[in-house]
């Protein structure tokens, strides 16, 4: 799809790109520029989660709105700040893009189209749904498969990539994440289950992601098993947890 065609379909819908960033001074300017190139209609808000390398200032200099957290909240608390901003300022569409450059803004149209067409409430860019090859160690691949199977079974919708945070949301789903968003490791798994619990329609589209130049995962196998057990418990409990809000019925 051509960007211009997409822009026409996005029409006058207020849209925002939420970019969580922690010490991403090297990449943040480029990410902002690339989002602009794809669609200048996006308001870009960078959530600076306690950076000490001037990420926030660089984001502002690049023309983005910048929300500066007074101390590090972790990825969940940071993106939720963005969703709260989006909700308070009346945005219809929100996309979430990492500040470290692993998500390619040129693929925004892929995740926006199903949302604009009303096919889904949340569209997730998946690395494993067919586009390109994603290099990962065997145990990470296996972990991904297991999580995908578990989450798919719970939300009763087929998913392949439960750790992707490259996604687009409509007003309904962004208002859920503004009110309730999980914190901690593998928060995307919990967020997906949460969305399923509210009967939001999820859709995956294939995307490719860039290799992260820095910040390779330092998780050892025993440690990742321990974290997985924690997330599994959190997911299990969340199925029985009292809802934080009631979503308005769709018009």
């Amino acid at each position: 799809m051509q960007p211009s065609q997409l822009e026409r379909r996005l029409g006058s819908r207020k849209r925002i790109a939420i970019v969580p960033a922690l010490n991403e001074a090297e990449t943040i300017g480029r990410v902002i520029r690339e989002i602009r190139e794809v669609d200048p209609g996006f308001e870009i808000v960078v959530v600076d989660d306690g950076s000490d390398d001037g990420t926030g200032e660089l984001a502002e200099a690049a023309g983005a709105r910048m929300l500066r957290l007074p101390f590090n909240l972790g990825i969940g608390g940071a993106v939720q700040t963005g969703y709260r901003y989006a909700l308070a300022n009346g945005f219809d569409i929100a996309v979430q893009i990492d500040g470290d450059g692993q998500h390619d803004p040129r693929q925004l149209p892929h995740i926006l189209v199903p949302l604009v067409d009303g096919e889904a409430d949340i569209v997730i860019g998946s690395r494993f749904a067919g586009a390109g090859e994603y290099k990962a160690t065997i145990h990470r691949r296996m972990g991904q498969r297991v999580w995908a199977a578990i989450v798919s079974a719970i939300v009763r919708q087929p998913l392949t990539d439960t750790s992707s945070s490259f996604r687009a949301l409509n007003r309904r789903s962004l208002s859920l994440f503004a009110a309730d968003y999980p914190h901690g490791f593998l928060e995307t798994v919990e967020a997906t289950v949460l969305a399923g619990k509210y009967h939001l329609r999820l859709k995956e589209v294939p995307v490719t992601m860039r290799e992260r130049e820095l910040g390779r995962s330092s998780l050892t196998i025993p440690l990742s098993l321990f974290y997985s057990a924690k997330v599994l418990l959190a997911v299990f409990v969340s199925l029985f947890r009292r809802p934080a809000i009631r979503l308005e019925e769709e018009p």
Partner: protein, 126 residues
């Protein structure tokens, strides 16, 4: 029956404990809300230490041969309850802390934009 010396020691310890809690509340270093469970803990231990027949009865009922152990278990259970209560308080505080940090970020951004606009308007000579 619980040995007399154990009873004396436990009573004195519980009494001192209660006094410390009372002093903490008095000097406003401990809110009544969080002191209540501690007061009950100290109070129950004091009563069981003083009232030795009651402790014997309790131990017999739950099948504990050595009554001082019953005292120990009662104290242990109360401490568990207190700790669990603290975990819920801690969770609530952590949740509020996140909300507040987010609120600060949202308000700070508006303030920053506002101040910039004022500076600009001042520079334009209004």
């Amino acid at each position: 029956m619980i040995p007399f010396r154990v009873a004396v020691f436990a009573s004195i310890a519980a009494a001192i404990f209660l006094l410390v809690i009372f002093e903490l509340i008095r000097s406003r270093r401990l809110q009544e809300r969080y002191a209540l469970l501690w007061l009950i803990t100290g109070g129950v231990i004091l009563i069981l230490a003083l009232w030795r027949d009651a402790l014997r009865l309790v131990s017999e009922q739950i099948g504990i041969a050595y009554p001082p152990s019953a005292l120990f278990i009662v104290g242990f259970l109360f401490i568990l309850v207190v700790l669990l209560h603290y975990s819920t308080v801690l969770s609530e505080l952590a949740e509020k802390n996140v909300r507040l940090a987010q609120d600060i970020a949202l308000v700070e951004e508006r303030l920053r934009l506002h101040e910039r606009r004022e500076e600009r308007e001042a520079a334009e000579g209004r």
